[in-house]
Symmetry: C2
Subunit: 360 residues, 2 copies
Amino acid sequence: MLKRRQSKRVLIGEVPVGGGAPISVQSMTKTRTDDVGATVAQIKRLEEVGCDIIRCAVPDAAAAAALREIKERVRIPVVADVHFRHELALMALESGADALRINPGNIGSRARIEEVAGAALERGVPIRVGVNSGSLEKELREQVEQVSESERSGAVANAMVESARIHISILEELGFNDILVSLKSSDVQTTVEAYRLIAQECEYPLHIGVTEAGSVLAGAVKSAVGLGILLNEGLGDTIRVSLTGPPEDEVRVGYMILRALGLRERGPEVISCPTCGRCQIDLVSLVEEVERGIAGVTDAVKVAVMGCVVNGPGEARDADVGIAGGKGSGVLFKSGSVVRKVQEDKLAETLIAEVRRMTE
Amino acid sequence: MLKRRQSKRVLIGEVPVGGGAPISVQSMTKTRTDDVGATVAQIKRLEEVGCDIIRCAVPDAAAAAALREIKERVRIPVVADVHFRHELALMALESGADALRINPGNIGSRARIEEVAGAALERGVPIRVGVNSGSLEKELREQVEQVSESERSGAVANAMVESARIHISILEELGFNDILVSLKSSDVQTTVEAYRLIAQECEYPLHIGVTEAGSVLAGAVKSAVGLGILLNEGLGDTIRVSLTGPPEDEVRVGYMILRALGLRERGPEVISCPTCGRCQIDLVSLVEEVERGIAGVTDAVKVAVMGCVVNGPGEARDADVGIAGGKGSGVLFKSGSVVRKVQEDKLAETLIAEVRRMTE
């Protein structure tokens, strides 16, 4: 088991983040927040795939007001994402937001900051300081631009941490400590370096993610590399995988990353051989059919789909259950032992039925 | 720049592996090797996406013989993957295979091993010792099975390294040192641990990969976590991403992983925001269209597809070129500065044309 960084615990609604809590998986709605029907429907789909915390953009008063009805209709806590306008943060709190993502240095006068922090404190609502390398303060950005190309990544990481320090200290001076921190860049190495630095100097829980990661496959890979390295070093209390794609995929990929490191499990893990010149069946279609058939299963179960009857059951002996294909007929196996022969065209349905039975 | 482990250099055909060479990206054909037409066509598609080294299964004499014609018709080096049968290894060498993947401990008598090692040595052909956690020697497997569940992963890693030692020492005793090593498990943590251990005790270049990783998305995520952690620690001289899917995806994902860590670049990197409630255009389709339009570009170029005109160009100022969308019209920008306004329905084609022009 990986050793995790000790962090302070905060509560987002009823979901604990940090202090040894399970690493939570977040996403963000991609609907217009003031379209309550569409937003609630999206959140309900996200709840089904295991999303723990959802964030909604609050670009205007209509969105801030909509949070009230959204909150009433969903189970998971809702984080209001606010930029610049303190009155929207106040409205979101009024609507029952479970957390704010807002950078206090960007909302204007001391009085405004005090008002927001005071209202959050009163309601026990945490604030995430969310630094993004693409929107650093002008002075920090200008410092970074003077650094040579080869040292740019480290300089950006330092500037991101400096930006976080500024926002954090504004809150701390007001006696507000219910803080989470994120430091996201679209560059994986910059992101990793920034989190390593901040982890050394504060105990706030870390919301980790790589930003603007790209489309589903490319974004999943970048996120898996970045979050994988951080989580492997014990850093990260809650994760968001940012993809230009369905938010459900963000959650699925999040769980895949956590599972790869033994940090959290949810749903089946399908292991399958890459197929090779020895394979005599259409393994790709078989895997797709099995994945579709067990998509709704929430229990952690290791399922194997292997290309050859001779090596398959043995090679996949770690799997709880699996099939190995062959020309005409294959086998169903459990923990490495063959249970029975199965006709080739019944392999998928046999495995799906078996997984369902085992996880019911 | 990440510091890499010092390793011995071997040559697979003309591709150097280890000793500071660029990390090469491998794949394996999924056709029947004796179907020369299909195999060559697949390898040519792989060459186009940047595959450096290709491996073909050699399950029988027809496959071993087919390697000769395959070799004549492709540019990249071909590795013969042989299990158990030493005569197939000899035939593959006769056919001009550029490397063998064979475990000498599995091919029988000392005389047979000497014959294979001798033939490989004569031709200057390296051998990869490829240990797979699912096919450990019986004695090693039985040792592992006696270990408690919680310590299983570490025990498997140790057993894999022990297996590699056995195969390596057989070759070394024969004076054969032109060796690569791989230690693959379908479990990410076991894989990572096994490579860490072997790296401490030999200088042979490491072929790294997570085996039976699953379908394209799940397998890409597992591979990215595992290889990302290893590469970040300086381990790995050549990589294979195993996916139950098209081998071209294995190569594409391989490059995505290397690029995320600044280790090697090829082709465009598309950064794009995840879209949110503020986004007023169909960003997912836009990204897909751009990705399709620039798929053939081999130069490394950072391309941004952003959802809002206000923040997009600034947030993506690291990109060489990008578009930011808005209702009705968006902008084309370069290195953070807006170049010109573009009609919404011309955004993708404008960006594609600009990327093509920049990389021609």
